[in-house]
Amino acid sequence: MDVLAYLDPGSGSMILQILAGGVAAVAVTARLYWNRILKFLRIRKDDEVVEPKQQGQTDSA
């Protein structure tokens, strides 16, 4: 994700939004931690996570 905003969203603030999102956040939270587990177990490499994936027009602006 390319956060293009002039304002820094804050790393902690972004994670908090995932944790605080209630029902809407359950799946996202699960994925966030699942990815971390995979990373921890070295099933997935760090750079796999970091590398930005093309997301259609959304990242092109």
Binding site: M1, A5, G10, G12, Q17, A24, R31, Q55, T58
Partner: protein, 491 residues
């Protein structure tokens, strides 16, 4: 001005940049003549065009919650206005008098916060979002909040979080929580830091017990903790968040949750303020009646543009002044009566009396980059008429400002003046002098005051109220009035 109307006339040549509008690289406000304009970059312009097509744009500009705006077709902005180059110009409706969150009583900040959140929810419904969350983007027309930063709307990008969440906490939520839950007025903190209170600072100001209060655990405790843990992992966290699939529904859930929290926050002034507020609104003794008449006579003797009522208290005289003025600024150092006055005006749907809390002996200075982003009060618009009723003894005795300094300052505003002077025998003056050493404030005498006043103004009227300890004066700037002789016997 109709919200979506377009016009072809370009803004006049001579323009002046708004020094408080440079943070967002996509838009920049400037003034030309009486007009307020906004230059937009290419991205900014396409975001505006997308906004103009939304239902929210029509709905919120229709009821005045969003500043009236039109796109000037074919107008060019001066070169160098925006680093990215300017692609279009908007013209905005002008707000009569600019104010800042560190001057608002609790309910004004809360109303601005709710407007911010409502706009964000409406924007999200149409796949747009507000890119920031600063209360400096809200202004008041009387007691009605207006969102003025059209440049804040942008098209929602898939996978992005609510970028303005942290800023919302720092400039809206924490100040509101401090006032509502801790009873601490946040004005000095907001004035002290243009970006507001950080999560870590807020965490340091609350107690362990507070984590069980609504909204505190997530927005303060956990927020500060996550910030400390992940503060230097910006890039990784962004990637993680994207990978986890941040969805619009999540932003909507967070904004809606925040709205519920803010809506539930309440603060009321201490009981004594309520009692005094009610009393002063209903007292009927001869002095009060006569004072009302004097103020009414002077403030309706001609049509005034902007009137400042300094030391406005419950706004009794602001209401009277509003009968003869285009716009009234009611200022008082005590947040309590200002809060109650704002609530009354809001209930009445008032759009011409702006109520602010500010200590005149320590007024809002120029702040931000080069001290120009936020302006001092006189820099935002000089008054045509000033009411300074039951004020000078507070300034001269309680705040130790010499009488001459105070009168000179009033004269520097170039304004006409209705001023009240309570003599040393007045009960309130005696109370203020009580704890002071004998012989202090020798300049607080009627003769000294009148000498200073006639030196700086043309005094046209003087009247002593029946109780004998209060005098009222009406004066015009030096050279603009027909002065009377104050040394002659009272008439």
């Amino acid at each position: 001005m109709s919200p979506s109307q377009t016009e072809t006339s370009p803004p006049p040549e001579a323009s002046q940049l708004e020094p408080g509008s440079f943070r967002d690289p996509e838009s920049r406000v400037f003034y030309a003549g009486e007009g307020v304009y906004r230059a937009l970059s290419e991205e900014g312009l396409s975001d505006f065009k997308a906004l103009r097509e939304t239902k929210l744009f029509e709905r919120f500009t229709g009821d005045g919650r969003l500043v009236a705006t039109e796109l000037l077709e074919g107008a060019d902005a001066a070169d160098g206005l925006l680093a990215k180059g300017s692609a279009g110009i908007l013209r905005h409706e002008r707000i009569p008098f600019v104010s800042y969150p560190y001057e608002w009583p609790f309910s004004m900040l809360k109303d601005a916060a709710l407007l911010q959140l409502d706009l964000n929810l409406a924007a999200l419904e149409e796949d747009m979002i507000l890119k920031d969350s600063t209360p400096y983007n809200v202004q008041f027309k009387g007691a009605r909040p207006v969102f003025v930063d059209i440049g804040s709307f942008e098209r929602l990008r898939e996978g992005e979080p609510w970028v303005g969440y942290r800023q919302f906490c720092m400039l809206y939520l924490y100040p509101l929580l401090l006032q509502a839950v801790k009873g601490v007025a946040p004005h000095a903190l907001l004035r002290g830091a243009i970006d507001g209170i950080t999560p870590t600072q807020m965490r340091g100001m609350v107690s362990f017990r507070d984590r069980f209060r609504k909204g505190f655990y997530l927005n303060v405790f956990l927020h500060a903790k996550l910030e400390a843990r992940h503060g230097d992992r910006g890039k990784e966290v962004k990637a993680e968040v994207r990978k986890a699939g941040f969805k619009k529904e999540l932003i909507v859930a967070n904004v809606a949750r925040m709205r519920k929290l803010v809506k539930g926050l309440e603060w009321s002034p201490p009981e004594g303020v309520w009692v005094a507020y009610g009393e002063r609104n209903s007292y009927t003794d001869e002095d009060a009646r006569r004072k009302d008449e004097f103020v009414r006579e002077m403030s309706t003797s001609q049509r005034w543009g902007l009137t400042w009522d300094i030391g406005a208290n419950n706004g009794r005289y602001s209401r009277i002044a509003a009968e003869g003025s285009d716009y009234v600024l009611a200022v008082d150092a005590d947040q309590g009566p200002v809060e109650l006055f704002y609530r009354s005006m809001r209930e009445e749907g008032d759009e011409k009396t702006l109520s602010l809390t500010m200590n005149l002996a320590d007024p809002s200075p120029g702040l931000g980059w080069r001290g120009l982003e936020r302006k001092s009060l006189p820099d935002r618009g000089a008054p045509d008429l000033v009411l300074a009723l039951a004020l000078i003894h507070h300034v001269a005795i309680a705040a130790n400002v010499p009488v001459r300094e105070f009168v000179t300052w009033l004269a520097s505003l170039g304004t006409s003046l209705v001023i009240e002077f309570p003599t040393r025998e007045d009960p309130m003056v005696r109370k203020l002098l009580g704890p002071k050493r004998e012989g202090l404030h020798p300049d607080y005498e009627r003769e000294t005051f009148e000498r200073e006043l006639t030196g700086a103004f043309d005094v046209e009227r003087r009247e002593r109220l029946k109780s004998g300890t209060r005098l009222l004066y009406f004066a015009r700037p030096k050279g603009a009035g027909r002065p009377i002789d104050l040394t002659a016997a009272e008439g």
